[in-house]
């Protein structure tokens, strides 16, 4: 394997770590396993915080994982402009760690929801969406119980104003509306980025959307964007 090295962190209770590693491999990257107690990212070019229930999601999703030793390395990597993708529980961890603004709260229906949905890409100005046109609709699955994005009004205005909303839940044709929003998320937000566009968090699961035998394929362009942005061996 020779593609860019993409680390996937395993926290106690991570569940989609193997799936993320598999997706990296299928899309041509070199998967790197990183353990929550590690203090570095094993020389990886990019890092994925996978989905799951780290520490059982006790207290709040991501509340305990953000204290893991490896998170200092993730913060440094992000600081240097390195790509960081938080998927589902990974998104929750990034918010808890302050690497992304806002918080993810109980779904409005109070129930876990596993469903194939669609998201509309809102910006190409992130490492993970550089090959995706704004307005493009991607089929991806969601599966979470705490995915309703909230932020205080100023923060929300800033995220929106700076074009940092990366994905919104939408209809297959790209329309917004309550019936397409699986968790009641503010402004139908499914994913956001930091100000430099190198840290992205999203509730849907692109790693479960690369292999047509077992799901939709809306995750493929995200991995393509990433692998293009970090050529191997840089």
């Amino acid at each position: 394997m020779s593609g860019p090295r993409v680390a996937v962190i395993t926290f106690p209770g991570s569940l989609d770590d193997r799936d993320a590693l598999r997706a990296v491999r299928l899309m041509g990257g070199t998967p790197v396993l990183v353990w929550h107690r590690d203090r570095d990212l094993g020389g990886a070019d990019a890092v994925i915080l996978p989905g799951g229930f780290s520490y059982g999601d006790h207290l709040r999703a991501g509340a305990i994982a953000r204290f893991a030793p490896v998170m200092a390395a993730v913060a440094e990597h992000a600081e240097r402009g390195g790509p960081v993708l938080g998927i589902c529980n990974g998104f929750q961890i990034l918010c808890e760690a302050g690497l992304l603004p806002g918080a993810l709260t109980r779904n409005v229906g109070l129930a876990f929801v596993c469903r194939r949905i669609h998201v509309r890409c809102e910006t190409s100005a992130t490492v993970f969406t550089s090959t995706i046109a704004a307005g493009e609709v991607l089929p991806v699955p969601v599966k979470h119980g705490e995915g309703r994005f909230v932020a205080d009004p100023e923060t929300l205005a800033r995220i929106e104003g700076e074009g940092r909303v990366v994905f919104r839940y939408c209809s297959p044709a790209g329309h917004l509306g309550g019936e397409w929003n699986p968790n009641g998320s503010t402004n139908h937000i499914a994913g956001i980025a930091n100000d430099r566009g190198n840290v992205v968090g999203m509730m849907p699961h692109p790693e479960h959307a690369v292999d047509p035998d077992v799901g939709p394929t809306g995750g493929q362009p995200m991995f393509e964007s990433l692998l293009q942005a970090v050529p191997a061996g840089v």
């Binding site: 569940l15 229930f53 596993c114 035998d213």
Partner: protein
């Protein structure tokens, strides 16, 4: 003399042991048991652990077959899938705790069945959840239903094992007695099956996972309340709090231990806790065991030896480890954040000896706890009135509802209606191998790195079981086989959960025996041995008992997952009915929902025809002749076609088969039938194949358009049917307005 409790009743009776059973214990020990020993026997000789009422009948089930690597007797059955891979699978009941605390009861049920599969050294890859409740109009039933579903999801989602299929059915008799079963499937290398007999002299017994508390000591708690002066059953709820996070760590740690070859054996701690795990490990190894109760990590202070020995605290496993592997074993556990403790070792004298503070507190022959257990041949009798109910055949009642209205009402009937509300609460895709999740006839899980896949389903029909337990047992196997075949998989093997009332009632025991006879005959005819299962008796409360509720979990094998069939209709296809339709509305969904009659005899079952249908569909799928398939079950042909139309958002126009009255042709539940659809170019090959295999086949129409047209009888819009079908359960729960219901569009 047997020890008497304060109230004068001998303790053994309060522990659920009869006087004869007490005498057996005295004979086995050659003396009176002490309290700890009595607790151990009481737990091990309970119906739940000893199968004392069911064993004589369970022997009648076929258990052997060319793929069977491990049959009944171990924690799970194991079958060979080829290419060096094997599959462990098992089903179990957790109905009783779920009836009083639905969330935790169901969640701990999932945890337990996962550990049964884990203890074979298998990675759990799928869960299924057959459920039975009383009608949702009753708020208590809604509370149970929502709680159970939340608990199953809460556990399965958190351990990262996809819940890929299941069943929900409703029957007033399940109101006070909901049935909550859970099935788990695991994968492992065929040459690395962990068996309980793997230990040898000097091996260490290492307890891994949660601390031990006063959990689920159940009947044995009377020892504490009556003789030790503690408050009693009230502060010993028979429900435990599930800890799926601990289970996830336990799964990873145990699999790493197995992968690294550090395990001589692995046992889950279920009923009768440490006593059961240690005695089985020792007995299977032909050894004895020394246990040091002081070494057991406890959650509470002041636990008595009998409590430690019989506690059923969750999320614990017992590893059998060679002394030289101990350090590595502990290192793995530590890395996963789990407590491990050496609580004993295997000895050569055949005795299970427990010490506390150096003092021997219990000493029994390890084999005695299992081998000396009583075996009952309980009295059996045909239930009064059954013959009359069977004679009251609703097939010949005249219909009062137009066929189109009847179809919509059936699609909205809770037994038939979409269970999306349930399965969208389950993570069905984690692990990345779910080729087909909930919503089809059977789930399909791809075997990673291979073209092969397994197909999974659970089935059981309470009406059939009530009206004719023999047929109820047989149909549950037949329907499961049909479901597996309809995704293109060959049925391989079966696990079951037999949910019944009290075995002490002759009608229940008769029904139990009949069910097993039917199940056994069907399994033999379809070539699917039973590799394990579970019996849940005493499902009685408030003066009502559940009907015979046998649930079959079936495993099928697809040699190429790309050839799997779906049940979503596509336009432009020729639509065929395979099999023959008879005038059989007895026990049908139509009879119950439209005619208000649960009577008559269930449809007949010609097992040779059933095997023929299954073989035909599998071969047609193998040869890539079919575009899709859906079996006929509840609601007959009409519901089967409507479900396919809803799933594919595609209509059809068909004529009715045979010259039966139209409502019979539409809604008869005759067995051994499926609808299939295929590209017209494949028609000659299919017809030829069916003829050669002797399966009746009839081209009934074509697919396409927005409407469902059955001859002159029904003409309904697919979207209308879909709305009725999808909204029924949320409507009953009063949620239709609140939570957005979005249909899958991917």
């Amino acid at each position: 003399m047997a020890e008497a409790a304060a109230g004068g009743e001998p303790i053994h009776r309060e522990l659920g042991l009869t006087d004869e059973e007490h005498d057996r214990i005295v004979a086995a020990l050659g003396r009176e048991p002490n309290r700890a020993e009595l607790a151990m026997y009481a737990a091990m000789w309970s119906e739940h652990c000893s199968y004392k009422s069911s064993r004589v009948h369970l022997r009648e089930l076929p258990t052997e077959g060319p793929h069977v690597l491990v049959g009944p007797g171990e924690d799970s059955g194991v079958v060979d899938l080829g290419e060096g891979l094997a599959c462990a699978f098992k089903m179990e009941s957790h109905s009783h705790p779920s009836a009083i605390e639905p969330y935790q009861g169901a969640a701990t049920g999932v945890g337990g069945i996962v550990r049964d599969v884990l203890s074979m050294g298998a990675r759990p890859v799928a869960l299924l959840d057959p459920l039975r409740f009383g009608p949702l109009e009753d708020p208590r039933n809604r509370w149970l239903f929502e709680g159970v579903v939340a608990g199953i999801g809460g556990y399965g989602n958190c351990i990262g094992v996809p819940t890929v299929a299941g069943e929900v059915r409703f029957d007033p008799a399940h109101g006070p007695n909901p049935t909550v079963n859970a099935m788990c499937i695991g994968l492992l290398p065929a040459d690395r099956v962990l068996r309980s007999g793997g230990g040898r002299l000097g091996d260490l017994l290492v307890l891994i996972g949660a601390r031990t508390g006063r959990d689920g000591i159940g009947g044995v708690s009377v020892l504490a309340s009556r003789t030790l002066g503690r408050a009693g059953r009230d502060d010993r709820p028979s429900v435990q709090i599930a800890d799926p996070f601990a289970e996830k760590l336990l799964i990873e740690a145990c699999l790493e231990l197995a992968d690294r070859g550090l395990l001589a054996g692995l046992q889950d701690l279920g009923g009768a806790g440490l006593t059961c795990a240690v005695s089985e490990t020792a007995a299977a190894a032909g050894a004895g065991a020394e246990l040091d109760l002081e070494a057991v990590p406890l959650r509470e202070d002041g636990m008595e030896p009998f409590e430690i020995l019989t506690s059923e605290s969750q999320e614990r496993m017992l590893a059998v480890v060679r002394p030289e592997d101990l350090a590595a074993t502990r290192e793995v556990c530590e890395r996963w954040g789990l407590i491990s403790a050496v609580v004993g070792r295997l000895t050569d004298d055949g005795a299970l000896r427990a010490r506390d503070a150096g003092r021997v507190v219990a000493e029994v022959a390890a084999r005695s706890l299992t081998d000396d257990a009583p075996l009952y041949r309980r009295a059996m009798a045909v239930p009064a009135g059954l013959v009359e109910v069977q004679a009251d055949d609703p097939t010949f009642l005249s219909p009062t509802v137009a066929p189109g209205d009847a179809l919509l009402r059936l699609l909205a009937a809770p037994n038939v209606a979409s269970k999306r509300w349930v399965w969208e609460r389950y993570d069905s895709i984690v692990q990345g191998n779910t080729a087909a999740g909930p919503g089809g006839d059977a789930a399909v899980i791809r075997l990673e790195g291979s073209l092969r896949a397994i197909a999974l389903t659970t089935d059981g029909n309470g009406r059939y079981g009530r009206l004719d337990p023999y047929l109820g047992g047989a149909h549950s196997v037949a329907e499961a086989a049909r479901n597996v075949a309809c995704v293109g998989a060959r049925p391989l093997a079966v696990t079951n959960c037999l949910n019944f009332g009290s075995p002490e009632r002759p009608e229940v025991m008769w029904a139990f025996r009949e069910t097993i006879r039917g199940m056994g005959d069907a399994c033999r005819a379809l070539g699917t041995p039973v590799t394990g299962g579970n019996v849940s008796f005493y499902n009685e409360a408030e003066g009502s008992s559940i009907p015979p509720t046998p649930i079959v979990g079936m495993l099928g094998l697809l040699v190429d997952h790309r050839l799997r069939l779906g049940s979503a209709l596509r336009p432009g296809m020729a639509v065929y009915l395979l099999g023959e339709t008879f005038a059989e509305l007895g026990g049908s969904e139509y009879a119950e929902t439209i005619l208000g009659a649960v009577s008559g005899r269930p449809p007949g079952l010609d097992l040779e025809r059933e095997a023929g249908l299954v073989a035909l569909v599998v071969e047609a799928a193998d040869r890539d002749l079919l575009a899709g398939a859906h079996d006929c079950s509840d609601g007959g042909l009409a519901v089967a076609l409507a479900e396919a139309a809803i799933a594919g958002d595609c209509g059809f126009a068909v004529s009715l088969p045979g010259d039966l009255p139209s409502h019979v042709a539409l809604f008869s539940e005759s067995a051994s039938r499926a609808v299939v659809w295929l590209d017209p170019s494949a028609v000659p090959a299919l017809e030829d194949l069916a003829r050669r295999q002797g399966v009746p086949i009839e081209r009934i129409g074509e697919s396409g358009g927005p409407r469902m047209v059955f001859g002159e009888e029904i003409d309904a819009a697919v979207v209308e049917a879909a709305a009725v079908y999808e909204d029924a359960i949320p409507g009953l729960l009063g949620r239709s307005a609140g939570e957005p219901m979005v249909r899958s569009t991917g």
